[in-house]
């Protein structure tokens, strides 16, 4: 039923250029002579590393900024000439959707319905449809500020959909959203495209999401690297993807880490106990065991290429060493055998806020040198557990021992052994990188030579030296996180706590991050981490899955995948396992409660 009055093109960009001036006076080119064509109808994805210009492009299409040069035609209207006409008929969901948190779900929706001129009669027809689609019906009277992260995104989507837009622009709609809510959001979007022939342009750092789109646009540093169906990108890695089985007893992440150092390997990620790798050579000569010393003697089997593989090949082709900006020092030749020394003991931990139980009798142990992952949907109690472990929040009941100290009694002593990186960037934005490090070193009580040594170590280890005079607020995203980790490690803590460190980070930054984490674990630093990227659980020695404040499963990634395998296919990914475990527990609880 869709009208296609514009020759089937939703967005037509020609030689688009956009620059920004930094406070320091330098000019940053966000988009550089970019030309693209987004077809009408269907899903299109913008992918690329941080700073590629994805958000800028979406804002330009929405008419929120003037172009420096070039033309941008949206649904047949030149955005520079008549932005209001475009804004009358498209919808846009910014990265942090600006819901009015002090209005209820219903009031937010009413506001957007009125702004789009939706009649009362039409509302009666549309609201049930939207509420049913988003599962928001039970919460219409709740303040938007009291919704969980996933529900906020769904409400944001409902608000943008109420105007029956011709084009929907979504900027990273699934950032910070747990796998369950993410799947629900995707079901809604897919249904809209299928049933209403809506055009959707979204940006994402989840490459599996890009793979589900009809069109992908790969951006890097303001330039378009590739565009077309995702299969075309995947084809770039055809015949280059393999799986390697590590030697018995060696964690997959160690093999992966070594493989990343090999020039003949473009990319490697741990997956289901094995390592998925992409060879630099093409065709028959691709067999990586001949070119990569690290693979000698291991069993290697070719596997079908994925979109992510093609993406990594593409980035590498364009910029030589782009994927491997990691000049990390080599791992110690003899990785220390993992000890059974218990460094964190949590037993029957309970935390209540009033009548609400955020954490309900959670128990687990973490050994020295382990990477321990806490997984769970939004509101599962991960952050609350985390804060108790760091001594930022007191427990209502239960035992909590960290680094040999009872956290309920000797908080201050325990903190000396803990490094904590919060989810939000919490350093001083106006201070330079070096100032921040100096300040935190002093705050941890370091003095004199030791202080100088540790600050120098942090600058080298995290490759922050070239940027040390830059105010930390102006650092690019990935560097901010490096600085946050560097400050948390200044006092050489035994345990490093990381709360959603990779949320919103692009695939390259995430690999780099895990590379470092693997190194720290090798140096016997214990790492406790929360994440929404289920594939990242593969880097962990053990993971725990939480939901509704309760612990649903704990074990090695293989064991956790095994729990789900009983219900699903036998080569389930971590994400499948996670969804299966959480859903099963929820069903069980619903059966039990009435």
């Amino acid at each position: 039923m869709s009208m296609q009055p514009h020759g089937g093109v939703a967005v037509l960009g020609r030689h688009v250029r956009k620059t920004f001036r930094r406070e320091t006076g330098e000019t940053v080119v966000a988009l550089d002579d970019l030309s693209l064509e987004v077809p009408h109808g269907g899903l299109a994805a913008l992918v690329g590393p941080d700073g590629a210009g994805k958000t800028t492009l979406i804002r330009l299409i929405a008419g929120l900024m003037p172009l420096d040069a070039g033309t941008l035609v949206v649904n047949g209207t030149d955005i520079a000439r008549d932005p209001q006409r475009v804004q009358d008929r498209i919808a846009y969901m910014p990265q942090r959707f600006g819901l009015y948190e002090d209005l209820t779900v219903r009031e937010n929706l009413d506001l957007y319905a009125s702004l789009h001129g939706i009649s009362d009669e039409e509302r009666r027809r549309r609201y049930p449809e939207l509420f049913q689609m988003t599962d928001l019906a039970p919460f219409t009277g709740r303040l938007a500020g009291h919704l969980s992260g996933g529900m906020k995104q769904k409400l944001g989507l409902a608000c943008t959909l109420i105007g029956a837009p011709e084009l929907l622009l979504l900027d990273e709609p699934t950032v910070g959203v747990d796998p369950l809510s993410r799947r629900e959001l995707w079901e809604i979007i897919a249904r809209l495209v299928r049933e209403q022939n809506l055009s959707v342009l979204l940006s994402t750092s989840y490459l599996d999401e890009a793979e589900r789109c009809d069109q992908v646009f790969v951006l890097r540093e303001g330039k378009l690297l590739a565009s077309g169906p995702p299969g075309e990108v995947t084809a770039l890695a055809a015949g280059r993807s393999f799986e390697a089985e590590p030697q018995a007893g060696e964690p997959a992440r160690n093999l992966q880490s070594r493989l990343l150092d090999e020039p003949a390997i473009i990319d490697a990620v741990p997956e289901a106990g094995r390592v998925h790798l992409v060879s630099a050579q093409n065709g028959k000569s691709a067999a990586p065991e001949q070119s990569a010393a690290a693979l000698a003697g291991l069993s290697i089997i070719p596997v079908p290429a994925r979109f992510e593989d093609g993406f990594m090949v593409l980035l590498r082709q364009q910029s030589g060493a782009a994927g491997k900006s990691l000049a990390a020092p080599p791992l110690s030749p003899e990785p220390a055998a993992r000890s059974d020394e218990t460094i964190i003991t949590v037993h029957d931990l309970v935390r209540k806020f009033g009548t609400f139980t955020a954490v309900d009798r959670v128990s687990f142990e973490v050994h020295r040198g382990e990477i321990f992952g806490l997984l769970g949907p939004n509101g599962a109690g991960k952050t609350t557990t985390f804060r108790m472990l760091c001594g930022l929040l007191s427990a209502t009941a239960g035992t909590l021992r960290v680094a040999g100290f009872d956290l309920r009694r000797a908080r201050a002593s325990a903190r000396q052994h803990i490094g904590y990186v919060a989810q939000k960037f919490s350093l001083y934005g106006q201070l330079t990188v070096a100032d921040n490090l100096e300040f935190f070193a002093s705050a941890y009580g370091l003095r004199g030579r030791r202080k100088r040594e540790r600050v120098a170590w942090a600058l080298t280890q995290f490759e922050l030296e070239p940027l040390m005079r830059l105010p930390s607020g102006q650092l690019p995203g990935g560097y901010k996180q490096r600085l946050a980790m560097a400050t948390a490690l200044l006092h050489s803590p035994d345990i490093l706590f990381l709360d959603e460190p990779t949320s919103g980070a692009d695939p390259l930054a995430r690999r780099e991050f895990w590379r470092r984490i693997t190194q720290f674990a090798e140096q016997r630093v214990t790492v406790v981490v929360t994440t929404h990227f289920m594939e990242e659980a593969e880097y962990c020695d053990r993971v725990a899955i939480l939901d509704g404040g309760r612990m649903l499963a704990v074990g090695t990634p293989a064991e956790v995948r095994g729990l789900a395998a009983a219900a699903g296919p036998d080569r389930a990914t971590m994400e499948d396992a996670f969804i299966a475990i959480v859903e099963r527990a929820r069903e069980h609880r619903m059966d039990a409660s009435p």
Partner: protein, 387 residues
């Protein structure tokens, strides 16, 4: 869902669509206003506090001054003189008989002044040469001068009474100076504090509160999604003004009520005229608030800028607390650029003098011009652009 197309587009530009959007935005603004404790605090609690503070705690009048009256030789004549102090509302009198104990009290600041009536006062009075000594604690020169004048007045009244009773007046009759304050007959500082209070409250609600709520939308990113809808920038500006205009007018009503019934300040002008000029001033304040928040886009910077640009000048440079005529020429010239100056002048005129058109018309014209210019500017800087 309906098929989007051309007919719907022309609808978005129609008057009815504009009205519908405006109504929705005003409703949203009103909900937020009532649910935000900080808005309630600034819009309702602060005005009430200011009224109570200005009305009861802060007064520039000198009343109930503690004084010691030293009667070194009590007699019917001296008792009559002392009663002039005891019965006066301006004094809180303690009667003593020895000077050293009175001086002790003065040093301890238990009294602010001493009236000493010597032991030979009655006799000297009869010979036409009665003398009373007045000592005042002089650290606060202003207050000291007022107390001195009050004391002299009390003694002068005593003399006048005696003259009226037929006692021989010294040197051909006592001349008592009768002074009278125009417009503020009671010399009550509430008379000019209350109009000033109205200026402060209107500035607080109009500029300060508006700047906060607009900057908050920029900070929280709520405007980004709002911009990509059929809403027009002008509608956003107007929707921000309407609820705060109503709140400002409620503040005005509260002040007028307090002025009339709490402080019993006379109101000699017309209420209609007062409402009219207050509307003009409120529009100026709202426009300044919107202008500052659109330019700074941060709650902290916007609130500081508003405080410095509107509230502090309204307090110190509008002629409400300090007389502009006694200020240096440069500041006097600067004060002509302040909208609060004209509003203070208008309010003082309307409350205490009445509809003096030669004052009201020029001042109102200046305010109207400022309102028009600032509103146009606020509209111009509020565009549907992020950078």
């Amino acid at each position: 869902m309906i098929a989007p197309g051309e007919p719907k587009l022309s609808w978005h530009a129609s008057g009815r669509a504009r009205l519908q959007r405006l109504a929705a935005l005003v409703r949203k603004e009103t909900y937020q206003l009532f649910r935000d404790p900080s808005a309630i605090a600034i819009g309702i609690v602060m005005p009430v506090l200011l009224i109570l503070m200005f009305g009861f705690a802060l007064s520039l009048d000198v009343k109930n001054v503690p004084v010691a009256v030293v009667l070194e030789n009590p007699s019917p004549t001296t008792a009559e003189l002392a009663s002039g102090f005891v019965l006066s509302p301006y004094f809180d009198t303690r009667e003593l008989t020895s000077m050293p104990s009175a001086e002790q009290l003065l040093l301890q600041q238990k009294v602010d002044g001493i009236v000493r009536i010597r032991s030979d006062f009655a006799r000297q009075l009869n010979s036409g040469n009665g003398q009373a000594q007045i000592l005042v604690y002089g650290t606060d020169a202003n207050r000291a001068r007022i107390i001195e004048a009050y004391a002299q007045g009390a003694i002068a009244q005593f003399q006048a009474r005696r003259a009226a009773e037929g006692y021989a007046a010294p040197s051909g009759g006592a001349a008592v100076v009768q002074s009278r304050m125009w417009f503020n007959e009671a010399d009550d500082s509430h008379y000019f504090l209350v109009p000033g209070l109205i200026v402060l409250i209107m500035t607080l609600i109009g500029a300060f509160l508006t700047t906060l709520v607009m900057a908050r939308e920029w900070e929280r990113g709520t405007l980004e999604a709002l911009f990509v809808t059929p809403v027009r920038a002008g509608e956003i500006v107007i929707s921000k003004m309407i609820p705060y205009f109503v709140l400002g007018m409620m503040g005005l009503a509260l002040c007028i009520f307090a002025a009339k019934f709490l402080f019993e300040v006379p109101f000699r002008g017309s209420v209609l005229l007062l409402t009219g000029v207050s509307t003009l001033y409120l529009l100026v304040a709202l426009a300044i608030g919107l202008l500052i928040s659109s330019l700074t886009k941060s709650q902290f910077v916007a609130s500081m800028a508003t405080l410095i640009i509107t509230f502090l000048p309204a307090l110190f440079l509008s002629g409400f607390l300090f007389d502009l005529r006694s200020m240096p020429a440069a500041i006097r010239v600067l004060s002509y650029a302040l909208p609060a100056r004209y509003y203070v002048n208008l309010l003082q005129t309307l409350f205490l003098a009445g509809n003096i058109w030669s004052v009201v018309l020029p001042d109102a014209a200046v305010l109207a011009g400022m309102a028009a210019a600032l509103l146009a500017l606020a509209r111009a800087v509020t565009t549907k652009r992020l950078a």
